[in-house]
């Protein structure tokens, strides 16, 4: 047992409709408490790598271990339980438009069967953490893109996971909002949450002191080791 939270060993993947290999013999680790960025050109396999972690895809070859659990051994009906172990953040936010901010953020807790009081407390705390205190009753469409993404982040952290996975979280945001969102990730990392962010916002992340992994032609390489004490 290493202390890696995520470990890829010789992982290769290609989508079923044939085509090229998206990931080729990838080895990669994310330590507990680490924050790292995953970059590379579009179609290089950033999203695919995250999908493999979330069991949205199963690799053609190789082994993936998340928090000590070998993913190839997770049965289909246990996939939801696997996904509840981490928070996911999406480029298009994936909020439910017909529910209030509160109800969106509360959803992971409702799925887990928390009591109403507990949910109220945790949702307010999560909204507080992303700077949206008092916006519980708003509808997602009335919020700016940056605010919607912060709701998405609040939903991802509300159940207090140890790992956050974000797929192009700033892809639909202007630079100021994008910087705010990245800043939020560093804040959660500071309190011990592991964070893996796939992004092509190189300008934004090059200023931050975290490890940057580069995916190109299905091969993964450390473009830069962590420069600060990112953990």
């Amino acid at each position: 047992m290493s202390d890696a939270l995520i470990r890829f060993t010789g992982v290769s993947h290609r989508y079923r409709d044939g085509g090229r290999e998206i990931l080729r013999d990838t080895d990669f680790q994310l330590a507990r408490g680490e924050m790292a960025f995953l970059t590379g050109p579009s179609g290089a396999g950033k999203s695919t790598l995250l999908k493999l972690i979330a069991l949205l895809e199963r690799p053609v070859k190789g082994e993936i271990v998340v928090d000590g659990q070998t993913l190839s051994k997770v049965r289909t009906r246990d996939v939801p339980a696997h996904r509840r172990q981490f928070g996911m953040i999406f480029q298009n936010f994936n909020l439910l438009p017909d529910r209030t901010v509160f109800d969106n953020v509360a959803m992971p807790l409702i799925i887990r069967g928390h009591s109403g009081d507990d949910i109220g407390r945790r949702v307010r705390a999560a909204l507080d953490a992303v700077g949206l205190r008092g916006r519980e009753k708003d509808w997602p469409v009335t919020l700016s893109g940056g605010e919607q993404q912060r709701v998405g982040i609040a939903r991802a952290v509300v159940a207090k996971p140890r790992l956050l996975i974000a797929d192009e979280p700033t892809g639909n945001l202007d630079p100021t909002m994008a910087a705010e969102v990245m800043h939020l990730f560093t804040r959660f990392n500071e309190v011990g949450v592991s964070v893996l962010v796939a992004t092509h916002a190189i300008g934004l992340i090059s200023r931050l002191p975290y490890r940057i992994l580069k995916l190109e032609d299905g091969l993964l390489a450390d473009a830069r080791a962590a420069t600060g004490d990112g953990t």
Binding site: K51, A54, Q85, M107, R112
Partner: protein
Amino acid sequence: MSGAKRVSTAPTAGSRWLLDHTRAIAATLDALKRRPFGTLLTALVIGITLALPAGLYTVLGGLDAASSGLKGSLRASLFLSDSLDEAAGRALQATIARKRGVAEAKYISRDAALAEFRTHSGFGEALDILSDNPLPAVIVVTPDAALPKAEAEALLNELTKLPAVESARLDREWLERLYAILAVIERLVLLIAGALALAVLVVVANTIRLDIASRREEILVLKLIGAPDSFIRRPFLYTGLWYGLTGALLACLMVVAAGLSLAEPAETLSGLYGAGNGIAMLSVDTVFAVFGAGGALGWLAALWTVGRHLGAIEPD
């Protein structure tokens, strides 16, 4: 690293179950209330579909009750030979009345028969042409209602063989025909109910299918954030149940309304046949059956549809 496991306020399995279902019930009722017109329309279709067999069954129950009122009228008319005078006829009537299993024996003399015929037949004037009374004296025998049917028949058969009896008629053939017709109708109602149950299934299944399609995005998001299938399925199953139960309620109201509007003519009709007491109202059993069938069909239809369509919605 599951967040829930570290929480001290993690709910117990029982209260968790209750909480999950209470939430699903509240959420689905709320969703249906938010589009009352669509909900009512679907419920109305189900209501009409359920009302038809429920109504037919109620009418049938009424006919059954009315005809069992006629069961006591299994009786025989014994036409006495003209050689028997009135005194002998009355003596015979007294003998028959004392027989075991006879509830009543009524003597109708030739004159009384003529008078009755004159009033009821409308052929009174025709009778005046005849020089003498063509009608025989009659003893109408009613067996004890408690007597088993076979014994009652045997008794009547025996009486018709008495020498003083010229001919006899058993008033029960039309009753048996009625029973035969009722049996056919009963089977028909069952068939109709089966076909309409299928219709309810299809209506609810189709409504739920559209519901699933319109909430595709929501289902994808729920799957992405780790909602188990049971969680995603639950609101659809409750929605199906509510459609079925609302339809059942409407069906009962329709049957009651139909019963009220039919009450007066039905009373006249049953008065004419001297049987039953008006049309039968919806029985408690039928109400339970309608609600049970509506709820079960709605739930089953939802289960069927969800099974067919939910698996196809997977995030990629």
